[in-house]
């Protein structure tokens, strides 16, 4: 049906104006990925360019957000509250195809779907997200994730649900081990919000339990604020081991629930959450867009992949330091990427004076939220954070600030998911 409609439009254009070139037919914007980057790109394109034909390819019919997944682990949200469908996206006039994009031909400007179909495009927005690097931690593969959940790529929500069930089944006094990867990875404050949210559950339900956070890094996002909160809310419950104190996990024994460090220390835990090293999703790697580190380098104005102009790569799959791999950055940059793609397709210049906006809220306890803000711009060699702006919440005993930020975090979540998936 979708194919027929697409063909119908093309045929009508051919009959009505046989002498006019492809440039006069509706511009075809193809979006791969229906998450924070892709769904935002599709919405912005429909809102701002009603004459552009927008097609979104996403394998899943239901999208589970990474943000607020940690509240599911805390038991204060249910999975269905962070799960969204694509009906409103369709109602907005986006053609949504639930299939896996399995290959890109940048010369023919065509995307191959796992179902066998090939879709032509004038401009491609690629927002495929991340892949977990199975085997980067010895013994940690897809089968091991069935025992030691990562809960870092939500998929159908099964991983988050599994980790929650394991926490519920754990006896009071158990140790929850969390392995945290080196930079860069999706959602820099995410592991530490997760530590906090698991601690909030344990404090209520299993107060003799402990969290052992084994980190490949020596420092992390909003560190002072997180550690202040841990000391205040969960004293004695959380041990964070940095990389320079042998925190880096290099091997797991999934059956025995053993996390082994670089220098051979073996931590046997009751529940293990292993967040492995990551890369751009497979389609970006297979299309030859990624660098040796596994991420896609992009132009800071247009988000075109340096390896393939005409393919605009947004979201966690690109490498854009100092911007974080966050849902808000994916959302914010999607608009500049779409506007640039359409301008370039029409022979015009991309929007000038671009700025990209991020706020990452983290919940660390009941009515206790913290944030980091960043405003970024294209620079001569990549992205630059705007001086004397942004930054983290103030430290200190500020209960009103913490309570308000928790409330505002909820408003952020509602606003951004409404933009992507709401009517």
């Amino acid at each position: 049906m979708i194919t027929r409609r697409t063909l119908g439009l093309g045929a009508a254009a051919l009959i009505a104006a046989p002498a006019i070139s492809r440039a006069q037919a509706p511009l075809r914007l193809l979006v791969i990925g229906g998450g924070f980057g892709g769904a935002s790109a599709a919405r912005f394109a429909r809102d701002s360019y009603p004459d552009v034909q927008v097609t979104l390819i996403e394998p899943r019919t239901r999208f589970v957000t990474c943000p607020y997944g940690n509240l599911v682990l805390a038991g204060t949200k249910q999975l269905d509250a962070i799960t969204f469908g694509y009906d409103a996206v369709r109602a907005r006039g986006v053609t949504v195809i639930h299939d896996l994009a399995s290959g890109i031909d940048p010369v023919a400007k065509s995307v191959r779907l796992a179902g066998g179909q090939a879709l032509g495009y004038d401009r491609l927005i690629l927002s495929p997200g991340i892949a977990l690097r199975w085997g980067a931690i010895e013994g940690y593969d897809e089968a091991a994730a069935g025992l030691l959940p990562h809960a870092w790529v939500p998929g159908d929500g099964g991983q988050t649900a599994l980790l929650r069930r394991q926490l519920e089944a754990m006896e009071d006094g158990g140790v929850v081990g969390i392995a945290i990867p080196p930079n860069p990875f999706r959602c820099p404050p995410g592991p530490y919000e997760r530590i906090s949210m698991i601690a909030s559950y344990l404090k209520k339900a299993k107060p003799r339990s402990k969290i052992l956070a084994l980190d490949a890094k020596e420092a992390f996002s909003k560190q002072g604020l997180f550690q202040d909160a841990w000391n205040a809310l969960y004293p004695g419950m959380i041990e964070w081991v940095p990389g320079n104190r042998d925190g880096k996990i290099v091997k797991v024994d999934a059956r025995e629930r053993v996390l082994e460090t670089e220098f051979g220390e073996k931590h046997r835990v009751a529940v293990a959450n292993v967040i492995p090293p990551q890369s751009a999703a497979r389609i970006a790697i297979d299309a030859g867009l990624a660098n040796a580190s596994g991420w896609v380098e992009v132009d800071p104005v247009t988000f075109e992949a340096k390896a393939a102009p005409g393919i605009h790569v947004i979201g966690d799959a690109n490498t854009a330091p100092p911007m974080p791999k966050s849902g808000f950055i994916a959302n914010s940059t999607s608009r500049q990427a779409v506007a640039s793609a359409i301008a370039l397709a029409r022979g015009a210049a991309p929007p000038a004076d671009a700025s990209y906006f991020n706020t990452c809220y983290s919940h660390v306890g009941d009515e206790y939220g913290i944030s980091v803000v960043g405003i970024f711009r294209p620079g001569p060699a990549g992205f630059v954070e705007t001086p004397n702006s942004g930054g983290v919440s103030p430290r200190g005993n500020l209960p009103d600030q913490r309570r308000l930020e928790a409330i505002y975090a909820d408003a952020w979540y509602k606003s951004i998911t409404d933009y992507m998936f709401g009517a």
Binding site: Q24, F44, F328, T359, S393, L404, E405
Partner: protein, 95 residues
């Protein structure tokens, strides 16, 4: 009668002029917390349709820490006067 080249140029340029985003993209970032279209979200204030001068004054005060807030000071310091002016004009024009 217009020369063919002018007609061709009009055919190409007219749609391009009419079809771009007609607003500063930075203004759309506000909606990330202030609700779709910055129409407000729960306890977060609506911005759309407010007088431009009020929005500029608020951002200026946030930037100088003269108005209490949780994160708006950190945000306001990331934009120039000209950018705040353009964002405020855009939001004021929306209902």
């Amino acid at each position: 009668m217009l020369p063919a080249v002018v007609i061709a140029a009009l055919m190409v340029s007219l749609p391009a002029l009419a079809q771009g985003p007609d607003r500063p993209l930075a203004a759309l970032s506000c909606g990330g917390c202030h609700g779709v279209g910055s129409a407000g979200q729960g306890p977060i204030a609506p911005l759309a349709g407010r007088p431009k001068a009020e929005l500029v004054a608020a951002m200026t005060a946030f930037r100088r820490d003269e108005r209490p807030g949780t994160i708006m000071g950190r945000i306001a310091r990331g934009y120039t006067d000209a950018e705040i002016d353009a964002i405020a004009a855009d939001l004021a024009a929306r209902r």
